[in-house]
């Protein structure tokens, strides 16, 4: 058959015996799971064996893109990887941006299934029909930037996924970068690649993607593009990127670090740091940053990042005294392929335990002081698994096993540290998501509902719910929280946010707020049909998303996860010292203190909205049957 949008091809690469083969996409599967994160889950579930070592040859990495990727559909840029992650032991998808997915599609593949383990360092080259497992001995030991640059020099315009030394040394908090910029695979994707001796993947394509119904597509594209072109805040997004949405300066100020807050303002960023804005293919709302340090000890340093807020968040750590130290530290973390968010959490946690005398020079063999040099030393020790760094490299779970009674103090869910602190940001869907996400504490799928509606009226919320395709019949329940003052029920709402995120990520669309806002379930389905020539209703897409999320849950059920793991970190229920303030765990509108009972009620509501069993937090037989997932049980 003739494929549009999709390439119709799945590439199989076995690193153990150097075998490369091709399989065709199955139309029935596409109907059930669309593409991207959905087909990733389906391909993984078919090949999945529970309880294998994530860092063994038995683990798989499946990388996928969606049917809209490779076209001009705005924001169609996603690359998604599924695997069993070492930090958590969970089966999870990670999502990234930049040009890898685009290049993979143009090379003629929708998904790549990587299995086995090479006996020497290799990288995978996918260049149109030429697929080759290449010798990477020269690249092994290099950081991500060096690796990327060497590959770009060799292949010119191409998309890369590369690991640094942290991945080579199987550090659990390692991740990869796409095109040296976009973080990809929080929870140890780089370690999984490292365990397979896979240093990088290169995609380069020239085949092009065709459209099934050009007339229909042109109409949709023209309308959407015009809406984006005339969006009043477009230019300020271009100017400031993600800094527009998360004013880190304000957070620093609130935490009492005024001097540092002045180094994180919009003006400071524009004058002292911003070098160039870059964007994923097809994206008219680009927010990626190339930063340049123009002064200080590290003047001349160039850093690529998915956003300046990443190094700025690093700056929250009190031990870093100037923005140049923060950028330098962040750059090192990026190069090694570590997770900057986890590094800050770890550092703050260690700092606390040293202050309390639980960590000492004797039991950690580190002369601790909360400053730049110690931070750098710790990063080196973790990356190269030296001394105390070797324990930290095995993640939060190992740390909790090694030292008595510290697990309770960790702000961690399922082995991943929380990113958004609800005592500062209140309990929105993005904070709640961190508790129920099968992947562990991560923010992505809970991203839209409360943030877009932040501080606004009920009507605005409803308009937003409708855009996401939330059924009319659910709306009343979404406005029935445990206490009326809370207005929205973030537990119930998170279910729909996950589904909406899954629709976008199955099609290959970016879910970041500034792109997400232009999409609705209806328009996403229209684009999908025009591009592929399929005839799917928005309800079909929504169901496919629900099916995907349930399948991911079923796989994690087989790994032993259940309600007992969807645990609110204990620390959230205690006040957080923030500058002169003590912040409490409160609901999204700041009216109600979240107690254990309310937290449990919200969990009950989440499972109920999902049609899952409240006792064990897992899909019921009825739900599994309704979604046609019996064969995966």
């Amino acid at each position: 058959m003739e494929w549009h949008g999709y390439t119709g091809n799945i590439l199989n690469v076995n690193l153990t015996d150097n075998k490369i083969s091709l399989t065709k996409e199955n139309l029935e599967d596409l109907k059930q799971f669309i593409g991207g994160i959905g087909i990733n889950c389906k391909l993984f579930a078919e090949r999945f064996k529970p309880n294998i070592d994530p860092l063994s040859a038995e683990n798989l990495i499946i990388i996928g893109t969606g049917p809209l990727v490779g076209t001009a559909t705005p924001g169609a840029s996603r690359t998604v990887a599924i695997s069993r992650f070492p930090a958590t032991g969970a089966i999870a998808n990670s999502c990234g941006s930049m040009s890898f997915g685009f290049q993979l599609k143009h090379a003629g593949f929708d998904h790549v299934i990587i299995s086995g383990k090479s006996d020497k360092p290799v990288y995978l080259l996918i260049w149109d029909d030429h697929v080759e497992i290449c010798d990477a001995r020269q690249l092994w030991g290099n950081d991500i930037v060096e690796t990327h640059d060497a590959l770009i020099k060799k292949y010119e315009s191409c998309g890369t996924i590369a690991i640094g030394q942290a991945g080579e040394n199987l550090v659990f908090s390692s991740l990869t970068l796409i095109d040296r910029t976009s973080t990809f695979g929080r929870g140890g994707l780089a370690a999984i690649m490292g365990s397979k001796n896979l240093k990088a993947i290169v995609a380069k394509g020239s085949k092009g993607i065709s459209i099934a119904q050009p007339k229909e597509f042109n109409k949709l594209y023209k309308n959407l593009f015009e809406r984006i072109r005339t969006y009043p805040h477009r230019e300020s997004w271009h100017e400031l990127g993600m800094l527009r949405s998360l004013p880190v300066g304000m957070m620093l100020k609130a935490s009492g670090q005024n001097k540092k807050a002045r180094q994180c303002t919009d003006r400071f960023y524009l004058k002292k740091l911003k070098k160039r804005r870059i964007a994923c293919p097809s994206c008219p709302m680009g927010d990626k940053d190339i930063l340049e340090l123009k002064e200080g000890d590290f003047a001349g340093l160039i850093n690529y990042t998915s956003s300046v807020i990443n190094p700025f968040l690093m700056f929250m750590f009190e031990g870093l005294k100037s923005y140049t130290e923060a950028i330098k530290t962040f750059d090192l973390i990026n190069r090694y392929g570590l997770d900057s968010l986890t590094m800050v959490s770890l550092l703050e946690f260690c700092n606390k335990l040293y202050k309390e005398g639980i960590f000492t020079k004797e039991n950690t063999k580190i002369e601790w002081s909360a400053d730049y040099n110690t931070f750098i030393q710790l990063i080196e020790m973790i990356t190269h698994r030296k001394g105390f760094g070797d324990i930290l490299a095995d993640g939060w779970n190992k740390l909790a096993e090694t030292y008595d009674d510290i697990g309770e103090e960790m702000l961690v869910v399922k082995g991943l540290d929380v990113i958004f602190e609800p005592r500062f940001l209140h309990l929105g869907t993005m904070e709640f998501e961190q508790v129920v996400n099968p992947k562990g504490a991560h923010v992505a799928s809970g991203g839209s509902p409360t943030y877009v509606g932040a501080g606004s009226s009920k009507d605005k919320f409803i308009a937003h719910f409708k855009r996401m395709g939330i059924p009319e019949s659910a709306i009343k329940r979404l406005f029935s929280p445990p206490f009326p003052e809370m207005i929205v029920n973030v537990g119930r709402l998170t279910r729909y946010s996950e589904d909406w995120y899954t629709v976008l990520t199955s099609l290959g669309l970016c879910a970041r707020a500034q792109m997400n806002r232009f999409w609705g379930l209806e328009s996403a389905s229209e684009f999908y049909n025009a591009v592929t020539g399929f005839e799917r209703s928005s309800e079909d897409l929504r169901m496919a998303a629900e099916r995907t999320w349930n399948l991911m849950k079923i796989m994690n059920m087989k790994e032993g996860f259940s309600r007992k793991d969807d645990k609110f970190p204990k620390g959230w229920f205690k006040p957080l010292k923030f500058g002169v303030n003590e912040l409490e765990f409160i609901d999204f509108f700041g009216e109600t203190k979240i107690t254990h009972d309310i937290a449990n009620q919200l969990l009950d509501d989440y499972y109920d909205e999902r049609g899952w069993d409240k006792e064990n937090g897992l899909p019921t037989q009825d739900k599994v049957k309704e979604l046609g997932l019996e064969k995966y049980l």
Binding site: T71, A72, S99, S206, S210, I211, P281, G286, I290
Partner: protein
């Protein structure tokens, strides 16, 4: 007779984000496929510090690329007749 307004494209490489929207639109309009390698505008070193923008032989001066560049890298300027 109504005079046709003519435009020329002024290139500002320093503003280019490497989004490839220009190439995608060019190839789609002229070859009915989304394919940067088929476009008459080439963006090289897409994400480097110094991206290069080049118009190739065959460009019809239809301005589709510039009309879709939202980053100001391809500025349309009216040409006096």
């Amino acid at each position: 007779m109504v005079n046709k307004i003519l435009y020329e494209i002024i290139v500002h490489e320093e503003k280019c984000t490497g989004c490839l929207i220009c190439q995608l639109n060019c190839s789609y309009v002229h070859k009915q496929i989304f394919s940067p390698s088929e476009a008459f505008i080439q963006i090289s070193n897409q994400y480097s510090l110094t991206p290069k923008i080049l118009f190739l032989e065959g460009c019809t001066h239809c301005n589709q690329c510039a009309q879709h560049c939202l980053y100001g890298a391809l500025e349309l300027k009216e040409v006096e007749q």
